[in-house]
């Protein structure tokens, strides 16, 4: 793998080489290596390994005429060629109505501790053992069949802007998804674990396996649930997907293109007064931690929702100017379809305030209540109004007189804004969630939501 100095030299060359040719440029080089172990039926299916060294360029040709490119680089010549190609391409592009400048001041950045596992390279040897321990834990809790994936990676990056800012970052991360089954298709459970230092988390990974196994066993005998209105207890996994969608939508670009229900909600009470949510790029163990954004603006903690009131959106320089406010240090190059990225604001780690209720307290409820442990396939009828549905998968329980009875085959068909407003209790078990259905790392406790609509197949 190329060394960090080599990577830095590509970025320096890109900046120097383009300096006299364009109004401004931001170059970011990154070298990443990642591995994954996928397993099913209690055995490892495949071990994978990825290595990349890439250079990202954001060019400001003149005024609001901008362009982006990304490619692999192996030499200084490659870096120069990338600059030449990007300038040639970008010069033909029209001016963007969604660009109003980038960070122009130089800053010093905070030191993010705990974001890098110095022993990450050794983890490749250990990983199969961790996986097998998680499988064993699931089986010992009663699972018959266990599937999952453990992914771990490191990334070293260096960025430099022709306006002055520059910085480097080292990051490691891992995420484990364990799913345990009985022999039957219907009785399954899931456990998730993620963080920045895999070497230190064998206990967490084993616990994820055990949880998956335990839930799959508790799901045995699940019966068809009845459609109707219920209070729902959403595990952190489900809450992060369904309720996390509201603070995730506190994004000016999402509003502009019709993907957010929050366009006219600033300053309004959208949740209960005991609920606060912060975009926090500094929270320990957060997968999206950063001390500066793509433009070089220092990151900050941004209170998106305070006491249930929508208080702020995330911003980069462009959207901050549009909204006559300051950047929240949230600028990213975000993927838009095949081979295209765009300079946009985006969330870092979304952090819900932890509650003070134990799980036992949450299930003490006089109304019909269902506990949903996992979900997938969330789709919207309308992103602006929030009507959606999602499918609970894995163990689900009807709670009656404090007892959990396994049920199956129901769908949450409701409205995210309404459910967010109907949050009525927060658990004290906050954890970070990141998996297939939750792309923004979300710190979330178990949450109870009143009066939700559950539907089922009619035939």
């Amino acid at each position: 793998m190329a060394g960090f100095d080599e990577l830095k030299s590509y970025v320096d060359i890109a900046i120097d080489y383009s300096k006299d040719k364009v109004e401004g440029v931001i170059a970011r080089g990154f070298m990443s290596s990642g591995s994954q172990i996928r397993f099913s039926q209690n055995a490892i299916d495949i071990g994978k390994r990825w290595d990349e060294v890439r250079l990202e360029l954001f060019m400001i040709i003149e005024g609001t005429q901008t362009g982006y490119s990304e490619r692999s680089v192996t030499s200084e010549e490659d870096a120069k060629q990338a600059v030449k190609d990007t300038i040639a391409f970008s010069k033909k592009l029209p001016e963007s109505m969604f660009f109003a400048g980038v960070e122009e001041d130089t800053h010093s950045y905070r030191d993010l501790k705990g974001a890098y596992d110095e022993k990450i390279d050794d983890f490749t040897e250990k990983a199969p053992g961790f996986v097998n321990a998680a499988i064993d834990a699931a089986v010992s809790e009663g699972a018959k069949r266990v599937a999952g994936a453990l992914k771990f990676s490191k990334e070293l990056s260096f960025f430099k802007s022709s306006y002055g800012p520059q910085g480097s970052k080292k990051m490691t991360e891992y995420d484990l998804n364990v799913r345990a089954f009985q022999d039957e298709l219907d009785y399954s459970g899931q456990g998730l674990e993620c963080g920045t230092k895999p070497n230190q988390d064998e206990k967490g990974m084993v616990a994820a396996g055990a949880k998956a196994g335990r839930l799959s066993k508790q799901a045995i005998g699940a019966v068809q649930g009845d459609p109707g209105t219920y209070d729902l207890i959403l595990s952190p996994t489900v809450g992060a997907n369904v309720l996390g969608s509201i603070p995730d939508a506190a994004n000016p670009f999402a509003i502009l293109i019709g993907l957010s229900p929050l366009g006219d909600k600033m300053g309004e009470q959208i949740g209960p007064d005991f609920l606060s949510v912060t975009d926090n790029p500094w929270i320990p163990n957060g997968l999206a931690c950063a001390s500066f954004d793509f433009e070089g603006t220092p990151t900050q903690q941004t209170e998106i929702i305070k006491d249930g009131v929508l208080r702020s959106f995330v911003h980069n320089t462009t959207t901050a100017k549009m909204y006559e406010t300051s950047s929240t240090g949230s600028s990213r190059m975000l993927g838009l379809g095949e081979g295209l990225k765009m300079l946009l604001p985006n969330s870092s780690n979304m952090v819900f305030e932890n509650g003070n209720h134990s799980f036992e307290e949450l299930i003490e409820n006089s109304k019909p209540t269902i506990y949903v442990t996992s979900n997938w396939y969330t789709r919207y009828q309308n992103y602006q109004t929030g009507e959606f549905s999602t499918i609970p998968r894995d163990a689900m329980f009807l709670i009656e007189n404090g007892e959990m009875k396994p049920i199956k085959n129901l769908r949450i068909s409701d409205n995210t804004l309404r459910m967010f407003a109907n949050i009525d209790a927060l658990g004290n078990d906050r954890k970070q969630v990141y998996w297939w259905e939750v792309e923004i790392p979300t710190f979330m406790p178990t949450i109870r939501v009143s009066d939700c609509r559950m539907t089922a197949a009619t035939q």
């Binding site: 039926q41 071990g47 029209p94 999952g148 298709l185 009828q381 009507e387």
Partner: protein, 476 residues
């Protein structure tokens, strides 16, 4: 391409020297350009040339995969070493067996007249402007426009050598219309496979205009028709809805890796697991669903798959009985069959997996009018918006976008707002009593599977389909 090919061939040699029983290398070179527009105005443009090699290595029945993007020998060796070690560490008791060796040599390309690489940016932008003009009058509209070409060279230790060239124009629209009943949204994929001529041949501009008009009409006119909830009704769905049903309720559960549990933690398993091929009935006699990668100018077109197996049509459900699963080499062996050419990989850095290509209801012998004429009370759901299905592919939901009330054998002018078809797969397919003759692939899409996610272009379709005695899951 020469350097990448040579290095791919070296990967085979190197993998074999380590002790790999089977080694496969895919060199992929992709060039993508992208434009994004919001309400007709440009918001972003970019380009992304990507090259890299992905290697699979089978070591004593254990599989390893490695990929790298810098085409250097030492990096290739480091990556294959890592993949080899990871494979050995797997220590499977149940060894992976790829079956009989495959040694195909071929060169194929999608059908095309004008290479996308030869279309200049001004032409791309002029076409994008034309499409944007058709969207005027909507409350909000966003378009992503991404033409790209892929050169792929697959080489294996069994002697396979396949040169492939594919070319796509990805077009994605996010549309919001406001009308009397509030706002209605649709996400529409209009991806074309082939050269630049597909814009014209695929009637892309006309289709954008048509879809925009239909969405505006829906937002303006659709109403809650509560009486439809009082009793079971008959439904007709158009080829777009037929396509998503073929894809979700039939294509996905037919994937061999799902059936055997390999996708358990991610995309899930399949209700086909507990059924018998050639015996178990999941639909009425009127239901025959096929999968065919050999149809030119479709998102799922390929002549050889990513394991070098020649592609062919597969009949998944024949007259209501499950007939054939989608298989790659590994699962071909596990099923006691052989690969039917279903292995696809979306990029050099992704392992090949069992994927769909083009999935559709085989045409029946009815005309559309014949479907309508003996319906007393029903809904014609021409298109859909929200949808989902559980991970065994058994409980599905489709919410109608453009939908009309059918009364006394006629499609009325009354538009039904968001009728919900919420059923099981067997409940749905068993209710089919007729399919029209007109096979159309009205549902281009990107099918997601696996971890890391692989989104592959697919098409889906069918004729118009009639379902008898459906109890709606909701309206409005």
């Amino acid at each position: 391409m020469k350097d990448g090919k040579d290095l791919a061939e070296y990967c085979i040699e190197y993998g074999r020297s380590l002790g790999g029983d089977y080694v496969e290398a895919r060199f992929v070179k992709q060039i993508t350009r992208g434009l994004a527009y919001r309400n007709g105005e440009p918001v972003s443009g970019g380009m992304q040339p990507t090259t890299g090699i992905g290697v699979r290595i089978l070591v004593d029945g254990n599989m390893g995969f490695g990929s790298f993007d810098r085409l250097e020998k030492t990096i290739a060796e480091e990556t294959i070493n890592a993949a080899f070690k990871m494979a050995k560490a797997a220590k499977r008791k149940d060894k992976i067996d790829l079956g009989e060796p495959v040694s195909n040599k071929a060169k194929w390309s999608v059908d095309l007249k004008q290479r996308l690489a030869n279309v200049d940016l001004d032409t791309l932008m002029a076409t994008a402007t034309e499409m944007n003009e058709k969207m005027q009058g909507l409350a909000q509209y966003t378009m992503l426009f991404n033409p790209y070409e892929i050169d792929k060279f697959l080489v294996t230790s069994e002697g396979t050598e396949i040169d492939a060239f594919t070319s796509y124009i990805r077009i994605f629209l996010l549309l919001t219309a406001k009308g009397k009943t509030g706002s209605e949204q649709r996400m529409i994929d209009m991806t074309q496979c082939g050269g630049w001529e597909r814009i014209k041949e695929g009637r892309v501009i006309e289709n954008v205009e048509d879809e925009v008009d239909r969405l505006k009409k829906t937002a303006e006119k659709a109403e809650k028709v509560e009486s439809l909830m009082d009793q079971p009704i008959d439904m007709i769905v158009g080829p777009e809805v037929a396509g998503i049903i073929a894809h979700e309720n039939v294509g996905h559960p037919s994937e061999g890796d799902r059936i055997m549990g390999r996708e358990g933690a991610q995309a899930g398993e399949s209700f086909w697991r507990d059924l018998k091929l050639g015996e178990s009935r999941v639909g009425s006699d009127a239901v025959t669903v096929s999968e065919d990668p050999t149809i030119p100018n479709t998102g799922g077109f390929y002549l050889y798959d990513d394991e070098g197996v020649k592609s062919r049509k597969r009949v998944l459900i024949k007259s209501g009985i499950i007939n054939e699963p989608l298989l790659n080499r590994e699962f071909g062996v596990k099923f006691g069959m052989e690969s039917n050419g279903s292995s696809r990989s979306v990029a050099y850095n992704r392992e090949p997996l069992i994927r769909m290509a083009n999935t559709y209801f085989e045409p029946g012998d009815h005309s559309f009018d014949e479907l309508v004429e003996d319906i007393k009370l029903g809904v014609y759901m021409r298109s859909f918006m929200e949808w989902n299905i559980d991970d065994r592919r058994y409980q599905s939901k489709y919410s109608g976008a453009e939908s009309y009330l059918i009364k006394d054998g006629e499609i009325t002018d009354i538009m039904v707002r968001r009728p919900v078809l919420e059923t099981t797969s067997v409940g749905l397919l068993s209710a089919v009593d007729a399919v029209t003759k007109n096979l159309r692939f009205d549902f281009p899409g990107t099918c997601g599977k696996s971890d890391p996610m692989q989104g592959v272009p697919v098409y889906a379709g069918g004729g118009d389909i009639r379902f008898r005695g459906i109890r709606l899951g909701g309206v409005g």
